[in-house]
């Protein structure tokens, strides 16, 4: 390992500009002649639009234009990127998602009209004079109500609120396993709706060059090529060569900036209408009601066990909230990123999962850090705990007894996935040691002496990163490929530009990817530049989500580097008057082993661009290679988290006394960055478990629509984490990497809740939903005492 190669905790290159306030975000850009868009949004969750009068607004100071759905009639609705089929074979209901509401609004925040003016405040002033005559309808909010036959329909043309009724597995086989089981554990739970809250609100600037017909969209996106494809091909009908999508520095996404949003279309379309740039920036209140939300499942889960605590079968039934419209990848989250994870780390022989996706008059729900996998992990690790409690087994022991063993890999689960590698007991054992599991009883006793209830909880999670391969996901309904692209451009003097389709919005790609290149080419870290986020610069890439960047994007880089090295060998062979087969590349040198013949990488690069001494008859000049990499399989990070809590029974306050994480991410490129990713994920998972909840009232008004009521985790809410790793290398990518971006958020919620329920067992509490706020914990204690 070199000082900047694979395995080194290189300090993040990008932080130099970020901590100096020199990052360039979308909202930092201002174009000549720019106008400002203000979106008038629905105050109602469900209403007909009887009329819209924009005449006064059009006359407002500084107003350039006012648009409603009528003006945009010629363009398409916002497309959905994944089609799920119901268990009867029928395709999901896919109602139109108009850019601006057409005749009806379906959630508070639904865009109704847009005012474009010379300033933001003028646009907002004018928007207040738009008169919309709404006919308010009953709001569909609760999913259990939404699926009843007499419920109001969110989409009249669909006629039901069930988007699809999907299933995975054989129900008869599973039912039979249950009927023969010695023990059945059962649990009803809610996976609470979350609001992503990236630190940078969304922003979009549309620009149009009348001379060339070229459109440009600058936007806060995790995947600019996906946006270009969706908006160009499906909405605006603009060919790719006339549409550039640029996502510069982006301040966090967590999934919420994967999706194609109405505002991106509005500003791009309007810029061409007006022949002026149009900028829209969300304010925080707007983010709460316009960014896609996450999670929101209501679930029943059952686990069948034999008398020794061996799992025989798992059965799950879930209602998954889609919100009012299908966001870009919403349909696949509770299905292919959820049902397929239900084996977890266990050798459960048969599993059946059914999921009804439900339309409601709420903000659309889509992928949020973990996306489907936190929901699967939560129900699984909760039911395992319930089973252990009911059988009187140690929660670590019941897990060990059911783990897939190291010699069973590759392991075909009953829910479609094939795990390539893993060692689950290694992570569990390390986490238990770290947490001093054996010493818990003594700590519990000392808490009790101080009037506190102490509990310990375990979560052994698995997740699947780098969703692939494209032909398989295509057969499952994906309307896009899931490969990644990279170009390695070696410049004449030996510096290297890496053009990657992955997008960095906090992950530190500029550092991690440069480490991979530094290691492979043996060149100075500082001579490597990572370029991303601009469809005019980079090859067609699928972007960053699902912890895919190192496993998929990193592999594309490695494959392109291999091509560079292969070509470099040909050039070096010519320079060294040796056979190509005799050339080896090591430590930045092309050498003939056993001789003193060597050419530095830089010399070969220069020769490629100044090809005076060059095999021109056989080889093109230049040193630039592109690779598109489509993975053979997912990668499967896994690990065990151990959480210890102390509960104040008087107030219901939960204090996390300690949190020990042991993760297996395969090869780790930058341990410091990985540790940071785990910390961030754990905080978000703890946020879900203890603090965060998107609350709607019966009328579909968002009650937790600001930081006054939506509790984002703060530093004081979490302990100092103990983070460690074990390593089994991924077997189907050259780096052996698995991905680490989401694990913390996936594995931590059940560890926290299991710990709290362990603490509360002595006062008789057996059920508790997230978030375990003090109020809820106190109520649970009180109800248990009353009964």
């Amino acid at each position: 390992m070199s000082g900047t190669g694979i395995g080194a905790s290189v300090r993040r290159t990008e932080d130099l500009r970020f901590v100096r306030g020199a990052g360039k975000y979308t909202d930092d850009m201002n174009l000549l002649g720019q106008t400002y868009a203000y979106i008038l949004r629905s105050p109602h969750a469900h209403a007909t639009i009887n009329s819209i009068d924009t005449s006064a607004a059009s006359q407002g100071d500084g107003v350039v234009a006012v648009f409603t759905a009528e003006d945009m009639a010629a363009i398409g609705g916002i497309p959905c990127g994944w089609q799920v089929h119901s268990k009867d074979g029928s395709p999901m209901h896919e109602p139109k998602h108009p850019v601006l509401a057409e005749g009806k609004v379906r959630h508070t925040g639904d865009p109704v009209a847009v005012v474009i003016a010379e300033s933001r405040s003028q646009a907002r002033d004018a928007a207040e004079s738009i008169e919309v005559d709404y006919g308010v309808l009953p709001a569909v909010v609760d999913m259990n109500d939404a699926v009843t036959a007499d419920s109001t329909s969110v989409h009249d043309d669909v006629g039901t609120n069930i988007c699809y009724d999907w299933a995975l597995g054989d129900p008869e086989v599973v039912d039979e396993a249950f009927s023969n089981a010695a023990h059945v554990a059962s649990l009803d739970l809610v996976n609470n709706r979350l609001i992503p809250n990236a630190i940078e609100p969304r922003c979009a600037i549309g620009d149009f060059d009348q001379a060339t017909g070229q459109y440009t969209l600058h936007t806060t996106s995790q995947n600019p090529h996906v946006i270009r494809l969706l908006m160009g091909a499906f909405v605006l009908g603009v060919p790719e060569h006339k549409l550039r999508v640029h996502a510069p520095d982006v301040g966090g996404g967590f999934g919420s900036k994967i999706f194609h949003y109405a505002e991106e279309i509005i500003v791009t379309w309007a810029a061409a209408q007006l022949n002026r740039p149009v900028k829209w920036t969300a304010d925080r209140s707007e983010s709460f009601i316009s960014d896609a939300h996450g999670r929101d499942h209501v679930t029943k889960v059952e686990l069948a066990l034999d008398e020794d605590g061996k799992f025989l079968a798992l059965r799950e039934s879930t209602l998954a909230n889609m919100g009012a419209y299908l966001s870009t990848f919403a349909p696949c989250i509770p299905t292919y990123l959820h049902g397929t994870l239900l084996a977890g780390q266990y050798a459960t022989p048969v599993i059946y999962c059914e999921v009804k996706a439900v339309f409601t008059n709420t903000v659309p729900v889509d992928a949020y850090r973990g996306a489907g996998r936190p929901e699967a992990t939560y129900l699984l690790e909760r039911i395992v705990q319930v089973a252990a409690d009911q059988l009187g087994m140690d929660p670590a022991e019941i897990r060990r007894r059911n783990f897939i063993q190291p010699d069973q890999f590759p392991y075909q689960t009953p829910v479609a996935l094939v795990y390539d590698t893993g060692d689950y007991d290694a992570s569990l054992s390390k986490a238990l040691d770290s947490a001093d599991y054996a010493g818990f009883a003594a700590r519990k006793a000392s808490s009790k002496a101080a009037g506190k209830l102490r509990g310990i909880g375990i979560s052994s999670y698995i997740e699947a990163c780098g969703i692939a391969p494209s032909n398989v996901v295509g057969s499952l309904g994906a309307r896009a490929g899931l490969y990644e692209a990279a170009t390695i451009r070696v410049n004449p003097t030996g510096s290297v530009s890496v053009l990657t389709g992955s997008h960095s919005h906090g992950q530190g790609h500029e550092t991690t990817f440069a480490q991979v290149v530094s290691e492979k080419l043996g060149i100075d870290f500082d001579s490597i530049e990572i370029v991303h986020g601009d469809t005019d610069k980079i090859p067609f890439g699928m972007g960053t989500y699902g912890s895919r960047s190192i496993a998929v994007g990193g592999t594309a880089i490695v494959n392109a580097l291999d091509k560079i090295i292969a070509k470099g060998k040909k050039i070096a062979a010519h320079l060294l008057e040796a056979s190509e087969a005799d050339i080896e590349f090591e430590d930045g040198q092309f050498v003939v082993p056993g001789t003193d013949k060597a050419k530095a990488f830089g010399e070969v690069a220069l020769t490629a661009y100044v090809p005076h001494q060059y095999p021109l008859e056989e080889l093109e000049p230049g040193l630039e290679e592109t690779a598109f990499y489509d993975p053979k399989n997912f990668t499967f990070p896994a690990g065990t988290y151990v959480c210890e809590v102390e509960v104040d029974p008087e107030t219901g306050v939960v204090d996390i006394a300690s949190f020990h994480a042991t993760d297996d991410f395969g090869t780790i490129i930058n341990p410091m960055i990985v540790e940071g990713q785990v910390h961030g994920g754990l905080v978000q998972g703890i946020g879900q478990a203890l603090l965060e909840a998107a609350c709607y009232d019966d009328n579909g008004q968002l009650l937790s629509g600001s930081y006054m009521d939506y509790t984002m985790p703060r530093a004081a809410d979490v302990p100092s984490f103990s983070v460690d790793t074990t390593v089994t290398e991924c077997e189907h990518n050259p780096l052996g990497v698995k991905g680490c971006g989401e694990a913390g958020a996936i594995g931590s919620p059940p560890a926290v809740i299991n710990a709290i329920l362990n603490a509360l067992a002595e006062v008789g509490v057996t059920e508790l939903d997230m978030p375990a706020t003090p109020h809820r914990v106190w109520q649970a204690i009180r109800s248990a005492q009353a009964s």
Binding site: D283, S285, E650, L691, C695, M708, D709, Y710, P774, H775
Partner: protein, 265 residues
């Protein structure tokens, strides 16, 4: 925000004149409630009169058995003041627990009490210590000042100048913060002095209130055990997504116990 004229007086009398002569003038102190409300266009003003430059409204002094704090003194200044800490440690403690550092460095005692937010911390201290609110025209006892939710005894165009707190023999404040906003879901301020015992509750009801039964019990015996069995009715208490009225009523007792413990009882 809707458009307004920004005014920056440098003296109290100038501020009073500006307020008097404006159509719909509003005083700006720390701005933590006013500015977000204006940004959301839920409030507007013809003139925003910024008291930040009125130096006579700032400062802390201790004399004659009183701690006097200028209306524009920030929470951070009160929290960091050794004079306050020596005289009424519970008051410095309360100020140091308001919001977060950003809030404490801009928010002021005058702005807080003029706003009379039912969940604000300071009203508990003012009523719990029997403070006096001085304005540019009169003095108002804290017991008479807070008249309801976002409502005070202040007249239109009246400006708070300072708050005087009598130094008690013992005092303590215990707060159960809203996990999101850090306002008080329930905060209880307890003091004991030659004038008797005061127990003031913020956050639980529409406005700060005293609990006579607890005061009587503590006057009899100043210990946490004295209030442990006393509960307030949840009939008129606040209820929201963070805490039901029932939970708030329960927390009043718990926070009262802890406040008494902090006060050495």
């Amino acid at each position: 925000m809707y458009a307004f004229d920004y005014k920056s007086p440098s003296s109290l009398s100038e501020a009073a004149d500006m307020l008097q002569s404006s159509d719909d003038g509003v005083l700006l102190a720390g701005g933590h409630t006013l500015l977000p409300t204006m940004k959301q266009r839920l409030a507007s003003a013809s003139d925003l009169i910024d008291l930040g430059g009125v130096s006579e409204l700032r400062g802390i002094s201790v004399s004659g058995g009183q701690v006097t704090i200028g209306a524009m003194t920030t929470h951070a200044e009160v929290a960091a003041s050794s004079e306050v800490a020596n005289a009424i440690a519970a008051l410095a403690d309360l100020a140091g627990g308001i919001g977060d550092p950003q809030v404490r460095n801009a928010g002021t005692i005058g702005g807080s009490i003029a706003n009379s937010d039912p969940s604000a911390d300071y009203p508990a201290a003012l009523v719990g210590l029997g403070a006096t609110i001085n304005t540019n025209s009169r003095s108002i006892a804290a017991d008479d000042f807070f008249t309801g939710m976002f409502d005070t005894a202040l007249d239109e165009n009246e400006i708070i100048t300072q708050v005087s707190f009598p130094i008690p023999d013992a005092a303590g404040y215990s707060k159960f913060p809203n996990p999101a906003s850090r306002y008080a879901v329930v905060g209880v301020f307890v003091s004991r002095s030659s004038d008797g015992v005061r127990v003031a509750v913020t956050g639980a009801g529409p406005s700060v209130f005293r609990v006579a039964e607890m005061e009587a019990a503590l006057a009899d015996s100043f210990s946490a055990a004295s209030v442990a069995g006393i509960s307030v009715s949840d009939d008129d208490l606040n209820s929201d997504i963070h805490a039901s009225a029932e939970y708030r009523a329960h927390l009043v007792t718990v926070m009262a116990k802890r406040a008494v413990q902090k006060a050495g009882g």
